[in-house]
Symmetry: C2
Subunit: 198 residues, 2 copies
């Protein structure tokens, strides 16, 4: 009886557990949104109890924050890596779309949260407002000098990308996101001067 009990639940180092929690939460929010997310479901998905989960993230809002911060870091890293030193907005958008086409769950997470967080009392409201502004500012900066209305075009590019992604998510089997975007890009970048480098 002094045998160590065979536990189903492993005790993990904090970083590892945190990573697992973020993965599970990402999937669940993509399915149900933040309002539809329950701590119990996340805990179950990680094989621990709710207080065990709360030990790592503090609260439900803290959990959401953790997910978003993780994604930000991850996306930034990956985009820098994929893009190299290009400054062609078209190339950068293409890289973004290519990456997204391999992670529909993440894209869905953002689609759902983006819509949910339109209302000001959503815990991710400020985050998404800032994110949208950043995206457009960044795009606009890259377009400056290559088109008469960089801001206006930046908004259209972002809108078209988001819209196409939702369309793709509804029917990922029949629609290929990258192909769709290539066609759309021919269209929307038509009047943009190519980068000076060639």
């Amino acid at each position: 009886m002094t045998q160590p009990i065979r536990r189903e639940r492993a005790r993990l180092p904090a970083a590892e557990r945190r990573r697992q929690i973020i993965d599970v939460t990402t999937r669940l929010i993509a399915e149900r949104g933040f309002w539809g997310l329950s701590m119990q479901d996340v805990a179950d998905g990680c094989g621990l109890t709710v207080p065990g989960l709360l030990h790592h993230v503090g609260s439900k809002d803290g959990l959401l924050l953790a997910v978003l911060e993780h994604r930000d870091a991850e996306d930034l890293r990956s985009l820098n890596e994929a893009v190299g030193d290009t400054e062609s907005p078209r190339e950068i958008c293409a890289a973004l779309v290519r990456r997204n086409s391999w992670q529909p769950e993440i894209v869905r997470l953002f689609a759902v949260l983006e819509a949910e967080s339109l209302t000001p009392d959503h815990p991710a409201h400020d985050y998404f407002a800032a994110r949208q502004q950043n995206t457009i500012d960044g795009l606009s900066r890259l377009l400056k000098g290559r088109t008469p209305d960089p801001d206006g075009l930046a908004v259209k590019i972002a809108a078209l990308m988001d819209g196409l992604q939702v369309h793709w998510l509804r029917n990922p089997a029949e629609i290929d996101l990258v192909t769709q975007w290539m066609a759309a890009a021919d269209f929307i970048f038509r009047d943009v001067d190519p980068p000076s480098g060639g």
Copy 2:
């Protein structure tokens, strides 16, 4: 103490109450999504109890269905009225956008539900899949003969419209949806032949 209690709550005819329920629900779903919607909140918003509410809609799913059916009927009526006998896709899109610019709550309702319902077990999943298909088929039919790839263009138009609307919803004070769309339309309809009538 045997005095009849002064009631705050009026007894309404079914149609009228139903209409009120739909209005309140529309607002609440736009704010919290369907997963975040509670029957209690809807009942409170209508000044009745939860069982009183359930008397009219049967269940929470029934409530959602009622809202969507009402919107379908309403949108169809209004669009036919606004468009008259035009068959210009550009005119029809403009009419749609003009209408939407006056009902941000409704647009938000659809934005949130559209994203939420991407997952197959959402009660509105089928509804939105069909809706998207209808939109694109309708647009594509209008574009046929006026552009080389009607289906592809229809998808882009729908995507751009949806994306711009979300962008607008995030900042309705600073952005004017109609202006934004006009600029986008100049762009996206550039290669579309004008209707044969002129």
